[in-house]
Symmetry: C2
Subunit: 213 residues, 2 copies
Amino acid sequence: MRLSELSERSGISTATIKYYLREGLLPPGERVSATQAEYGEGHLRRLRLVRALVQVGRLPIATAREVLAHVDDESLGRTIRLGAALWALPHGPEPDEQAPETAAARAEVDALLDRLGWTGAREIGELSPVYRSLVAGLATLARLGYPYESAQLEEHARLMHEVAVRDLDQMETCATRSQQVEMAVASAVLHEPLLASLRRLAQEEESARRYGY
Amino acid sequence: MRLSELSERSGISTATIKYYLREGLLPPGERVSATQAEYGEGHLRRLRLVRALVQVGRLPIATAREVLAHVDDESLGRTIRLGAALWALPHGPEPDEQAPETAAARAEVDALLDRLGWTGAREIGELSPVYRSLVAGLATLARLGYPYESAQLEEHARLMHEVAVRDLDQMETCATRSQQVEMAVASAVLHEPLLASLRRLAQEEESARRYGY
């Protein structure tokens, strides 16, 4: 399809599409003449993801470009490719190695992973910004005087693993690995706020059941 | 205790504590002389919550004041008091009634609540900004071309209900209702980012199990 049709079908203006092309967020179309290029369904799918990352996830352009580079990197193994794309998303703060709570928080995360039998996550360990942001988060909670009770943390982790199993089942319905990673990235950006809303709504429901209004 | 001790035990400077007092985030101490006031354990607990809301949750002072007013409102029923405190926290965007996807998203949330048997949440309905932000979120996903599959949404909701049951169990370990609502507010602000991290870490783990690295 031509640029005008790509714009119409995606609902994104031609000016914005040209901007995304210049910034390398969208691969160039196939040139058919000096002034025209041809775009395919892949471009439409990519535009949808760019819009989710930039407009809803509010990712800076450079960050979105890095995420997309990992999505497209066929040289990586599946877990590392998925990891690299998710790791390029914004994360919580890094652990403060000067803070006295950090060492205890790291030991707590490692003990949690051991209890859960999450050997994969344990092996990836410090390499993952997700692991590091969990360490930083637990240290902050301890410093604030709201320690994450280890039984509660473990139950939350088990329930989030059930969510993750369903996430990967859903991902596997995508035809290609590249599309699977795209879905994981979109889901991280789009579903996280909704999961938080579902938890709060479930709290309202559970409170109404236990105590009335 | 005197202001200096309150500062020492909370790790918050006397200047910041005076600012919180002026802004009504902290109730005044008991005046013992023209220049001195006496503070108790309740002030220490409240300071801890204020710091979590303002420093970690980055809530504007006016928003924090509103949340705390509901925490302290003994006139409300338990569910409404918990709800009011949580509802005063920042939420996602409101539903866009002009968007064609909004009516369908609202019908989807209602159908979900019916299938789940969440009669309490269904009855509170539109009154709750949590419900409204869920409607807005589903409409956005549909507009972006990433519809939240209804089976996936339902499984996520069921798992979040299990999280909520544990949240309320944990809350009930607090001695007073006011402390219970304080814990719910702190947990919403502090645990939501960690739950998102746990989900991403669980995805890494599940990916390593299924595909290696």
